[in-house]
């Protein structure tokens, strides 16, 4: 397959992935942390207060990026599930197992930050609102993936089971995205759409985009580090891992 660059093709093999990705992780962590600090400080200190919500809206700069990336991770797990079922790539399975805990934590953080935001603006931390409930369901879906991985002893079967559960669960994602329009809700609709107008004034926007990009980078770092760990765990009997372990212990 000529259209796939060689470096990308190499990453599909656990051995090359393990060697090549090592130097990336630290850079992703550094870049993500710096970006997140810049975006957050910008959003907290240098952006004017919002007209109706005053200063409390500033949690948007944490809440929105985290919620966005958490959803995206679930969709990416479903895509990895399709890749696993169709091409049987080992790394797709590793990705699913590595990304599920990261997504689970991000979803929990999105819910927590949303509750903190809800207290001053809505006057309540929790409403049984369609969008909040569907994010809660997303949390349970991630939890289900993690649990399923644990209870199925055979790794091949666990991977296929995980792929199928992720794909079926992905039907919930459109509901999460569009539930705001479908049901009566207290939650505001999304202000940024890929193909449409942006309902946020430009002055608020730059730090938001910086933070969204930073959370992407940080999540990628966490997932890749997790994947490296899983690669070691699964290939422990291989000679190249044995060599690496011997090198580490010296």
């Amino acid at each position: 397959m000529k259209f796939i660059p060689t470096w990308l093709h190499r990453l599909a093999s656990p051995q090359h992935f393990f060697g090549d990705i090592k130097s990336w992780i630290m850079w992703l962590y550094v870049l993500g942390t710096i970006g997140f600090l810049v975006g957050s400080v910008w959003g907290l200190a240098f952006v004017p207060p919002e007209r109706y919500q005053g200063d409390s809206f500033r949690i948007l700069y944490v809440h929105a990026p985290i919620a966005h990336v958490a959803q995206l991770i679930y969709i990416s797990i479903a895509v990895a599930g399709v890749v696993h079922l169709v091409w049987k790539l080992k790394m797709a399975d590793v990705y699913m197992s590595a990304a599920a805990p990261v997504g689970c934590w991000l979803t929990a953080l999105a819910l927590a930050s949303g509750m903190i935001w809800g207290m001053p603006t809505w006057g309540t931390a929790w409403v049984w609102d369609a969008r909040i409930v569907s994010t809660l369901i997303l949390l349970f879906l991630f939890f289900g993936l993690i649990v399923l991985r644990r209870v199925v002893p055979n790794p091949t079967r666990a991977a296929t089971a995980l792929s199928i559960l992720a794909i079926v669960g992905a039907i919930n994602i459109p509901i999460i995205k569009y539930s705001v329009e479908w049901f009566e809700t207290l939650h505001q609709p999304a202000s940024i759409e890929l193909f449409g107008d942006i309902a946020i004034a430009p002055v608020f926007l730059t730090p938001l985009f910086i933070n969204i990009a930073s959370i992407y980078v940080l999540a990628a770092g966490f997932i890749l580090a997790n994947m490296r760990y899983l690669v070691v765990e699964r290939n422990a009997s291989m000679t190249w891992i044995q060599g690496w372990i011997r090198g580490q212990s010296q």
């Binding site: 369609a130 569907s134 369901i137 349970f140 879906l141 939890f143 289900g144 649990v147 399923l148 209870v151 199925v152 002893p153 055979n154 091949t156 079967r157 296929t160 089971a161 199928i164 559960l165 079926v168 669960g169 039907i171 919930n172 509901i175 049901f183």
Partner: protein, 221 residues
């Protein structure tokens, strides 16, 4: 012909198990009854509460009987033979699904509106409840069977099954209840009803085909 013979066998086993085959129905009535009794002041005032109660109890009833869906056939080796042939496994799986729906889905579809009528629900609203249950119960059976198949032979069921399945049931639950609620409120429910049909056609076409490979995998390990 093969399907019909298998279906007769499954139904015969269901009926021969005697009083055991009534457990899901008694469970359904008991849970609805418990809800209705504890929430009686809400239910007499608002038919929408009873609709939600009946729908949620339907989910639980369906889950309760999923546990044994493939258990016996896995234990006595029928499943191990069936997965050897792709046609045989598809016929077996479709039979299992139809049987599960015949034993839980159809009775609930009939019982739900009756319970509604007895509790003073308007006839039209009870009819709509029955109609959404008719669309919803096959979807519930399909999704449940898929997750059950993922866990065949692991000796795990019960709350693990519930934790894995319930999130997947949310879309059909939301749309089913929405249709009934909008109908009671005399609002337009077309788009929600179409979503129910979409979930029904999607799950009934895709899942029977997916179940074969999933069950085959369960026999490999």
């Amino acid at each position: 012909m093969r399907f019909w013979a298998l279906y007769q066998r499954e139904m015969l086993i269901e009926f021969r198990s005697g009083v055991e085959s009534f457990i899901p129905l008694v469970f359904f009535l008991l849970v609805v009854g418990t809800f209705a009794f504890t929430l009686r002041s809400f239910i007499s005032g608002d038919a929408r509460v009873l609709v939600a109660v009946i729908w949620i109890t339907t989910l639980f009833t369906s889950m309760l009987s999923l546990d044994k869906l493939f258990k016996r056939d896995h234990a006595d080796g029928t499943l191990a033979v069936a997965v050897l042939h792709s046609e045989a496994i598809t016929a077996t799986v479709v039979t299992k699904l139809v049987t599960h729906w015949s034993v839980t889905g159809i009775p609930i579809t009939l019982l739900g509106p009756v319970v509604g009528l007895l509790s003073g629900m308007h006839f039209d609203h009870a009819l709509m409840l029955g109609f959404t249950l008719l669309i919803g119960t096959p979807t519930i059976t399909m999704l449940g069977a898929l997750v059950t198949a993922l866990l065949v032979g692991l000796g795990r069921g019960g709350e693990l099954l519930t934790v894995l399945i319930l999130p997947l049931y949310i879309p059909i639950l939301l749309f089913g209840i929405s249709v009934c609620h909008l109908h009671i409120e005399s609002a337009s429910y077309t788009s929600e009803l179409l979503w129910c049909f979409a979930l029904l056609t999607g799950s009934t076409t895709a899942i029977p085909l997916a179940l074969g490979p999933v069950l085959k995998m369960s026999q490999d390990s």
